[in-house]
Amino acid sequence: MDVMQVIKEQIEGNPVILYMKGTPQFPQCGFSARAIEVMTTIGKPFAYVNILEAPEIRASLPQYGNWPTFPQLWINGELVGGSDIILEMQRSGDLAKMLETAAVEVPPAE
């Protein structure tokens, strides 16, 4: 399958999906670790993709979402942003609200 199609299916098939470096247990970048910290604190389910193990997705996602860096958080098919935005939206309370209203059934992305 074309990588853009894979990305589309991941993003549309998962109400909450985080593209990150490493895994939630072992993030391999400070910005990804920070995103995981926020997501864990809020405690809602989310899917993730470790882009260090998915080089094609790593290469193509920036183009798909018009966003050059990682992590990237997508909720209900829309790009929410990277770690700075995630942190800012935690601070404002907006992220918890968005995650609350995102669908609760989250299958694994990989």
């Binding site: 910005f31 050059p68 990277g82 770690s83 800012e88």
Partner: protein, 104 residues
């Protein structure tokens, strides 16, 4: 011209800038001394009024497309309207510690 200077000039050319703070944070990461790979940018601009965060960041990424493709690996962005900036009294979050990355 240094990458830092390029970044500052391009942001100032693309947005009305009330305040701009740029730090080279490359020394915090797994890269050679003197590198220009990791930056933290604070931009306060009236152009951000009524614009959601994701679009503010995309606007800056678009201005810095060339730099991001050429070797700027991380760009921590903190974007505020003048009003938001005053409300926070100039406080933008610090960047996290590096966890090794994968050598870039």
């Amino acid at each position: 011209m240094s990458v830092a200077t390029e970044i500052e000039l391009k942001v100032r050319a693309g947005l009305v800038v009330e305040h701009l703070g740029l730090e080279n944070e490359s020394h915090m990461h797994n890269v050679a001394p003197g590198s220009e790979t990791h930056f933290r940018l604070v931009v306060v601009s009236p152009d951000f009024e009524g614009v959601i965060l994701v679009r503010r960041h995309q606007r800056i990424y678009a201005l810095l497309d060339e730099e991001l493709k050429a070797g700027v690996h991380a760009l921590a962005l903190h974007t505020f309207t003048p009003e938001e900036w005053r409300a926070r009294q100039g406080d933008a979050a610090a960047s996290p510690k590096c966890l090794g990355g994968n050598g870039k």
